[in-house]
């Protein structure tokens, strides 16, 4: 293994070599001339585990990648093992191959894309509408105490109400169309976004604003010229996190009342005992979540290269 041969030496260069007087260099003390080879091997082995389990210490990128793959292989292995041995009834847990077959079939019939698109549309509308209001309002709220004093009592009340408890009310008021699902998403994430963005704005250092004033920035320009750019990386992180929540609320809304979407086909599949379809829907949501998450990371790198 390449790791065992490269790691301890690089560690000893940086760790032991420089601090000199601290603790004695274990490897130097155990040179082949001084000690038997067995001891040297023993020390080598210990220093590898020590290196890999150093609190907050780095690990080789190749190892990190391999470990990331290993967890999936392990889960898939267990899944294959329990389904192929008949340990679990196929009606509760399908074989992985069964899920793949169903996915391919539904993809070819177009059904998968139709429902995925329906879900993506609802999430995007809810998320965009919520963010477009929450970002400017949150920044204003964090910057101006007077706005905060006005909104805080209301926002902090609403944001602890479970969105799910409003679903019946929304159905009564707006029906079971797309507007209802969009409303659930907006209600679920807007107040959280508002609070977190206001917090980000409040954390802008005062002297940064003071410096801007002494350079001729007017007070009314503070949010646009200072608070917004200063909080942009934070705001993008907040949007990334709340995007994940939007997916959760979407599925909740679709399970309750919908005629399309990944949550809807899951519910339909449950009634027909099509566990493979449920698995497909879950996997699809996971993939979409991963995609949006990565998109936000790329966006953050492009929009705020200074913060990476």
């Amino acid at each position: 293994m390449t790791i065992s041969s490269t790691l301890p030496s690089s560690k000893s260069e940086r760790g032991h070599g420089k601090d000199g007087q601290g603790r004695p260099d274990a490897r130097a003390a155990a040179t082949p001339q001084a000690r038997p080879a067995l001891t040297e091997n023993h020390v080598r082995q210990k220093s590898l585990t020590r290196t890999l389990f150093t609190p907050f210490g780095p690990i080789p990128p190749a190892l990190a990648a391999a470990l990331g793959i290993a967890i999936w292989v392990a889960i898939l292995g267990i899944w294959i093992a329990v389904t192929h041995n008949g340990l679990v009834e196929p009606i509760f847990l399908p074989k992985p191959s069964q899920v793949v077959e169903t996915t391919v079939a539904l993809a070819q019939s177009g059904e998968l894309w139709e429902h995925t698109l329906a879900s993506v549309k609802v999430v995007l509308i809810g998320f965009v509408v919520s963010s477009l209001v929450a970002v400017p309002l949150g920044l204003t709220m964090g910057t101006y105490r007077i706005v905060q004093a006005f909104l805080d009592p209301l926002v902090n009340f609403i944001r602890y109400l479970p969105v799910t408890s409003f679903v019946p009310l929304f159905i009564l008021w707006i029906g079971i169309g797309i507007e209802q699902r969009v409303a659930v998403i907006i209600f679920g994430i807007f107040f959280q976004q508002l609070v977190m963005i206001a917090d980000a704005a409040r954390s802008v250092p005062r002297d940064l604003v003071n410096a801007a004033y002494t350079l001729g920035t007017r007070r009314v320009e503070t949010v646009r010229h200072i608070v917004f750019p200063a909080t942009l990386p934070n705001v993008l992180d907040i949007l990334r996190v709340t995007m994940g929540w939007a997916w959760t609320y979407l599925v909740v809304a679709e399970l309750v009342a919908a005629r399309s979407g990944l949550g809807y086909i899951s519910l339909k599949a449950m009634r027909g005992f099509q566990v493979d379809v449920i698995f497909m829907a879950i996997a699809m949501i996971g993939v979409l979540g991963l995609l949006t998450d990565q998109s936000f990371r790329v966006l953050r790198r492009l929009a705020a290269p200074w913060a990476s």
């Binding site: 002297d207 940064l208 003071n210 801007a212 002494t214 350079l215 001729g216 200072i226 750019p229 705020a304």
Partner: protein, 265 residues
């Protein structure tokens, strides 16, 4: 080393008269500054030296218009101060470069706000980056710079805006002593070229004498000017000056003035 009275004259660039600053109300009120007066002449480099907590930074914030005074008047270049403005440039102790802008864009920020044309802005940025020796770092972000470099950009950024006066609040306070000495030399050189009116705050007596035409020795609680000392050492001044007997004598005088004051807080 004569003692000049600090009386504002019509040609003073900074005129502080009977300024007081009170924090809090009633029983808990703290008088940070009490009827403080000082005057800085055009193109003069004045340094306020005092123990931490004596209100010297507050005074600078009052002059910058970043804080409201309780009483008294402050005039800069003949105009009464009521709010912050581009006529009073400031360099802070904390790093205050805009992290989302590159070095060049930071320096360009003030001229851009003023509506100066792009070509002229470019010339200004080039000039001041050259002046602080950071031309090679123009496209770096502040996060990529050392503490000393950040403060050099901050000085360039303040000067690029061509303010009437430059206020400096312990700008080298967070730097290690080697970097601090280099920064003092750099500041003296830049000031020699630009000849701005400067009011500089520090608790470092060596730094005060080395930089100043005039030193205001300030004591705390409530903050007031104990004494003004004219510093007549020839310019340009080098670091070696700190070992001259006259320098040491002046340092001793200031130390004596401050003695006991530091313990009082």
């Amino acid at each position: 080393m004569q003692n000049t009275p600090s009386v504002a004259t019509p040609d003073s660039d900074i005129a502080v008269e009977d300024v007081s600053l009170r924090y809090g109300r009633g029983q808990n009120a703290v008088l940070a500054l009490s009827d403080l007066s000082l005057a800085v002449r055009p193109k003069e480099f004045c340094v306020i030296v005092g123990p931490s907590g004596c209100g010297k930074s507050s005074l600078l914030y009052l002059i910058a218009g970043l804080q409201e005074r309780t009483g008294g008047t402050i005039r800069v270049a003949g105009r009464a101060v009521s709010e912050p403005g581009a006529d009073r440039g400031m360099v802070f102790q904390a790093y205050t470069l805009f992290p989302w802008l590159t070095v060049a864009q930071n320096v360009e920020y003030g001229p851009k706000r003023k509506g100066i044309a792009a070509a002229e802005r470019r010339r200004i940025v080039d000039h001041y980056l050259e002046e602080v020796g950071l031309t090679a770092f123009r496209d770096h972000y502040p996060a990529q710079l050392s503490g000393g470099m950040k403060q050099r950009v901050a000085i360039a950024r303040a000067l690029a805006n061509d303010p009437d006066v430059l206020l400096m609040d312990e700008p080298f306070g967070a730097l290690d002593s080697q970097t601090r000495h280099a920064m003092q030399q750099l500041l003296l050189r830049v000031w020699d070229h630009q000849k701005k009116t400067v009011l500089f705050v520090t608790h470092d007596i060596d730094e005060a004498i080395l930089l100043a035409d005039r030193v205001f020795v300030m004591s705390g609680r409530p903050g007031l000017i104990r004494k003004e000392i004219s510093v007549d050492f020839e310019r340009p001044r080098a670091m070696d000056l700190v070992m001259e007997p006259a320098f040491i004598a002046m340092k001793r005088e200031i130390l004596e003035l401050l003695r006991g004051d530091g313990d009082a807080r």
